[in-house]
């Protein structure tokens, strides 16, 4: 199975990267950019073949290592 994980900053948490990208886009004359948020995208190849077990495993990984739940949310998608 494969897990696709999105890790994004919680609402209200400052996103310096997003802010800087937004300013850079403005500098490149891209108008109409209202907000930019940057997160991480992690893809994990798993030997596990049961989707539910895989999901449990991956959320455990997120809690323990991949996401910093103080400031980040994570979202898991399991694909075949």
């Amino acid at each position: 199975m494969k897990a696709r994980i999105h890790i994004t900053l919680k609402n209200g948490v400052l996103d310096p990267q997003g802010k800087a990208i937004q300013q850079a886009l403005a500098g490149l004359a891209f108008d109409g950019v209202e907000d930019v948020r940057q997160g991480k995208f992690i893809e994990i190849e798993l030997t596990e073949s049961d989707a539910d077990t895989a999901r449990v495993q991956v959320s455990d990984m997120c809690e323990k290592l991949l996401a910093n739940t103080v400031i980040e949310n994570y979202d898991i998608e399991i694909v075949a």
């Binding site: 310096p16 990267q17 800087a20 990208i21 850079a24 500098g27 490149l28 940057q38």
Partner: protein, 230 residues
């Protein structure tokens, strides 16, 4: 023979390199703000180290699109020597003046220490004061110094003698242990095909003053001073 040092928001080795340049040339370089669209008359352009735009997104990516970079690219293409140190190297790579890219260090950690470098090309405007194969001690200080290029590009670089410096041990051997960041083929600095653009991760300006623990970086600035004075 003035020198231009490009300053981006977040540059932080601009003063350090200006000091080394002034020591070598006897003249303070022109500090050029990234928002300028034109360069002053100059025979050498230096893109200094630091964290332009916080190194957010990718190191050097945002700076590479600053207004001044169009002028830098133009001058580079007409033969003006351009030296990019650390973040400057990242910027030149992102701007397409040098091939490849600097990725996150293999250790994933910032690394600040002296490393040994082997001079692979002593026949350039930057390295003329060194001997071929000479071993220099120069500090690195970066998080993203892991040089990468695809196989074809790498072949072209090696075949064309575009590798200027490699990380080595004190005996000049190019070993994995001597590689501080995981760079492919221990590459620490590369030249463009014409040899007038040099990007390097180590900081020659940091060991160009005997009080700071070494002067192996000074000959680079002396060579440049001589070249542009001629």
């Amino acid at each position: 023979m003035p020198v231009a040092v490009i300053v981006f928001p977040g540059s932080n080795c601009d003063r350090d390199v200006a000091v080394a340049l002034e020591t070598a040339t006897g003249r303070a370089p022109a500090m050029v703000w990234h928002q300028e669209s034109a360069l002053p008359a100059c025979d050498l352009i230096v893109v200094p180290g630091g964290f332009s735009y916080g190194d957010y997104l990718r190191s050097g990516a945002m700076a590479a699109h600053s207004p001044i970079m169009r002028a830098v690219i133009e001058r580079a293409n007409t033969g003006t020597p351009v030296l990019g140190i650390c973040n400057g190297f990242q910027i030149l790579a992102e701007a397409g003046l040098l091939p490849g890219i600097l990725m996150r260090n293999a250790s994933l950690k910032f690394v600040c220490r002296d490393v040994d470098l082997r001079v692979e090309r002593a026949d350039t405007v930057f390295t003329g004061a060194y001997a071929q194969g000479e071993i220099l001690r120069v500090p690195v200080a970066h998080h993203d110094g892991n040089y990468f290029a695809d196989a074809e590009t790498l072949q072209r670089l090696e075949d064309g003698g575009q590798v200027a410096f490699r990380y080595c041990d004190t005996g000049g051997n190019v070993t994995p242990e001597a590689n501080p960041n995981g760079s492919i083929n221990n590459i620490a600095g590369i030249l463009n095909a014409d040899g007038n653009v040099l990007g390097m991760m180590p900081h020659p300006e940091r060991l160009a003053d005997p009080l700071l623990g070494g002067i192996d970086g000074a000959p680079m600035f002396d060579a440049l001073a001589e070249a542009i004075a001629a």
